[in-house]
Assembly symmetry: C2
Homo-oligomer: 124 residues x 2
């Protein structure tokens, strides 16, 4: 079989609560070294916030709740999906991370263009 999302994803994912504010999110990006944070409420995916969204907040002088800058309509992946499908989805939407979810929208990991690029470096 080909390489699956479950083979390359980071699990568990670093997530952030929908109750967080923009500055909390910026601090978590820096301390974790991770640009893409699924936003959860009771463990269920409700959005995604990235360092791009922090730049959007700075550009527009926006402060306050993460919900003001997060993307609510999240493109996701499932563990048994092929990495080619995940790569195509990210290209189509011009994004670089997909939260990996269960059928109940619980976040169990995250897969990024960095994870897929690593395979190319190792001639998978």
């Amino acid at each position: 079989r080909g390489v699956l999302v479950r083979d390359v994803m980071t699990s568990p994912a670093v997530t952030v609560s929908a109750d967080a504010n923009i500055k909390d999110v910026a601090k978590l990006i820096v301390t974790s070294g991770i640009n893409h944070l699924p936003v959860v409420r009771n463990g269920i995916l409700v959005g995604i916030v990235t360092s791009f969204d922090i730049a959007k907040a700075v550009a527009g002088g926006v402060e306050g709740s993460v919900e003001k800058v997060m993307t609510k309509n999240v493109v996701t992946a499932i563990p048994d999906e092929g990495i080619e499908s995940a790569a195509r989805k990210m290209e189509q939407h011009d994004i670089s991370a997909l939260p990996v979810i269960t059928s109940g929208r619980k976040v169990i990991g995250i897969v990024t263009t960095e994870d897929i690029s690593k395979l190319v470096g190792r001639r998978y």
Copy 2:
């Protein structure tokens, strides 16, 4: 021959002047839709600034010149380099973009993990 950096890089790269301030950089990230900006002085590479660095500025309450948050010691690529080598370099340094430069350190493009991931989506 294998796939080269010149085959997948974005050229020209969107760059930012070393005279820019952090808010200008945030606005350029948003209007261009690009997270990674080589910093140049007279067309010569002097640093790189990404949306990660904007998050760092927000986390630390830093404002002013881009030089306060950019990374000065830049990992780069050359056009005739194989994409496997570029992918390995990005993995080793935990980064997702490499400015592509000439022998005189002029920026002629940029290659990212997004560019490499796209190849996987297309079963290159």
